[in-house]
Symmetry: C2
Subunit: 321 residues, 2 copies
C-alpha cells in the first residue's frame, strides 16, 4: 500500500500533467491561479487512499481525484465571491485578483472540467459515480445557501448548524472516499460504510475548525484567534452558547454582534468559558470521530488496510486543541 | 411524427412535472423563477425534433431536452450577472430580483441539475452524451469569455466575431440536435451531420438576430431598433463595416462609441446603409442557412422525416427582415 506522502506526490504529478493552458487566457488564468494556490489536497487524497485501501489501481482513481479537487476549487471560487472574501490561502481570492466576472466564469468552467475527468471513468461504474457526484454537488449548493441564510438570522439552533455543515462540508469528503472505493470495486455495503465514515469525519473536522478558530494555539494554527467571533459566525461554539445561556448572558452575547473591537474576542471567549462550550464542542467532535471509527472498523477488509486512512484522519483532526 | 406544437406541449408538461420545490427556498425560488420566464424553448425542442426525426422515443428524449434547457438557463442567469442586464424576457433578471449571490448559486445548481437529467439516459449512450455535453459546456464558457473580452476592444475582425458566436451561441443548438439523434440511435455519420446542420443554423440565427436588432420591423420584432448600436456591440454589421470602411468613415464610426444619443442610431445606420452591410449580413446569413440545408439533405433518412426540422428552422430564421 501507498503512504499518504506517495499518494500526494502522485496527485500533484497528475495535476501538473493536466494542461489547462488554453484560450481564452482571461478564462484559464484565473482557473490555473486557483489551482496553484495549493492547499492540503485532502479531498483528492481521500479518493486515492480509499481506492488503495480496497485494492484498486491508483492510476484509475487519479481522474476521480481530479474531479473532486476541481469541484472543491469551483465551490471555493464562487463561495469567496459570495462571502466577499479578500484572501484564500494567504493570497488574493480569484475575484479580487481578476474581478468578479472571470471568477464566476472560471468557476463554471472548473465545474465542467470536474465532469470531464469524471467522465473518463469505466463505463460500468460511470452512471453510479456521476449520479452520486450530482447529488453531492446539489447538497453542497444547498449547504452554501443555508449558510448564507444563517448570516441574516440572530440565532441558529445547533441542529440546524450541524445540518448545514453536513451539506456544505461533510458530504464532499464522504463522496471522495466513496468514489475511491467504487473505482476499486468495493461492494455496496463497503462504499456505504466508507461514506458514513466520511460524513462523520467531515463533521468532526468542521467542529475542530470552529474550536481552533477561537481556542487554537496561535503559533501552531498560524493565525490569530477570534476570526469567527469578530464575524459573528454561527459555529458550534456560538450556537451551543445561545442554547445554554440564560437570558442575561444571551443579551450580553447579542449586544456584541454589532461591535468589531478586539475587546469583543476577549469578552465572548470569556462567556464561552463560563458556559463550557469548548468542552462541549470537543466532546461532540470526539463523538463524531468515534462514530467514524466504528464505521471504519465494520468494513470487512483486513484492519492493516485501514491504517493509512485512520492515521490520516487523526492527523488532520488533532492538529492542536 | 409529432408536430412542433405537440413536442412543445410535451416538453412543457415534463417541465411542470419535474418538481424543483425544494429547500432551502432561497436557492430554489430564483431557480424556478428563471424557468418560469418562458422563452421559446428552442433548444430542448431541437432535441425532441431530432429524436423524432430518427425514429426515437420522445419519452427518452425528454430528459435530454430538460438537460439542454437547464444548461441554457444556467448560462442566462450567469451571463445576465456578468452583463449587468436588468431585464430578461421583459422581467427582472434573477440577480436583480433576488440579488447576486442567489443568482450565482442557483445558476450553479441549475448546471448540476442539467447533469442529473442527463445521467438518467441509458447506460450504453451515457458516456458519449456526457462527454459531448461537457465539451459543449466548456465551449459556451469560452465563448462567453471571448465576448466579454470583445467589450474592451476597439475593433474585432469578422472572423473573430464568427468564432465567438459559434462557441457562445451555435454549439448548444448543435449539441441539442446531436443529443436527440444519439438518443434515437442514429449512427456516427448522422449525428455528425445533424450537429453540422445545428452549427450552421445557429450561426445563421445569431446573424439574423444582429440584423433584426438594427433593421427589424419594430412592430413585428417587438422592440425598438438600435439596441446593439447604442451598446457598441460587436455584431456582424459593425465588424464588417469596420473592415470595409475607409479611414474617414472608420473614424466617424469610432467617434460615436462614446455617444449615447438617439442620433447615434440614425447616423450609424446611415453609415451601415452606405457600406451595404445589411445586404452583406443577409447574404452571409443565407449562406449559413444554405450550408445547414445541405447537411440536412445529406442525412440518409426519408426527406419527409426532415420536414419538421426544416420548417422549424426556417420559421425561426425568417421572422422578419
Amino acid at each position: 500500500m501507498y503512504t499518504v506522502e506517495e499518494l500526494h506526490r502522485l496527485f500533484i504529478e497528475k495535476l501538473k500533467k493536466e494542461s489547462f493552458v488554453k484560450e481564452p487566457k482571461e478564462l484559464y488564468e484565473p482557473f490555473n491561479y486557483m489551482l496553484s494556490l495549493g492547499g492540503k489536497r485532502i479531498r483528492p487524497l481521500l479518493t486515492l487512499i480509499a481506492c488503495d485501501m480496497f485494492g484498486g489501481k491508483i492510476e484509475q482513481a487519479l481522474s476521480g481525484a481530479m474531479a473532486v479537487e476541481l469541484f472543491h476549487n469551483f465551490t471555493l471560487i464562487h463561495d469567496d465571491i459570495m462571502d466577499e472574501a479578500p484572501l484564500r490561502r494567504g493570497s488574493p481570492t480569484v475575484h479580487i485578483k481578476y474581478s468578479t466576472n472571470p471568477a464566476i466564469l472560471s468557476g463554471d468552467a472548473m465545474l465542467l472540467y470536474a465532469y470531464i475527468f469524471l467522465s473518463t471513468l469505466d463505463t460500468n461504474i460511470l452512471k453510479k459515480c456521476i449520479t452520486l457526484f450530482n447529488k453531492t454537488g446539489i447538497e453542497v449548493c444547498e449547504g452554501q445557501q443555508i449558510d448564507l441564510n444563517f448570516e441574516k438570522l440572530d440565532e441558529v439552533t445547533l441542529a440546524d448548524y450541524l445540518h448545514m455543515i453536513k451539506l456544505k462540508t461533510a458530504v464532499l469528503p464522504a463522496f471522495a472516499l466513496q468514489l475511491g472505493a467504487i473505482i476499486a470495486g468495493a461492494n455496496e455495503e463497503q462504499t456505504q460504510q466508507i461514506y458514513d465514515f466520511g460524513i462523520n469525519i467531515g463533521l468532526a473536522f468542521q467542529l475542530q475548525d470552529d474550536i481552533l478558530d477561537s481556542f487554537g494555539d496561535e503559533k501552531v494554527f498560524g493565525k490569530k484567534n477570534g476570526g469567527d467571533i469578530i464575524k459573528n459566525k454561527k459555529t458550534i461554539l456560538l450556537t451551543h452558547a445561545l442554547e445554554v445561556a440564560d437570558d442575561s448572558i444571551k443579551q450580553e452575547l447579542k449586544k456584541w454582534v454589532t461591535n468589531d473591537s478586539e475587546e469583543k474576542i476577549t469578552v465572548v471567549k470569556k462567556i464561552f468559558s463560563e458556559l463550557a462550550v469548548k468542552d462541549f464542542a470537543v466532546n461532540r467532535m470526539k463523538s463524531y470521530h468515534e462514530i467514524a471509527t466504528q464505521y471504519l472498523l465494520q468494513i470487512n477488509i483486513p484492519d492493516t488496510h485501514k491504517q493509512v486512512l485512520r492515521n490520516f484522519a487523526e492527523k488532520l483532526l488533532y492538529r492542536d486543541i
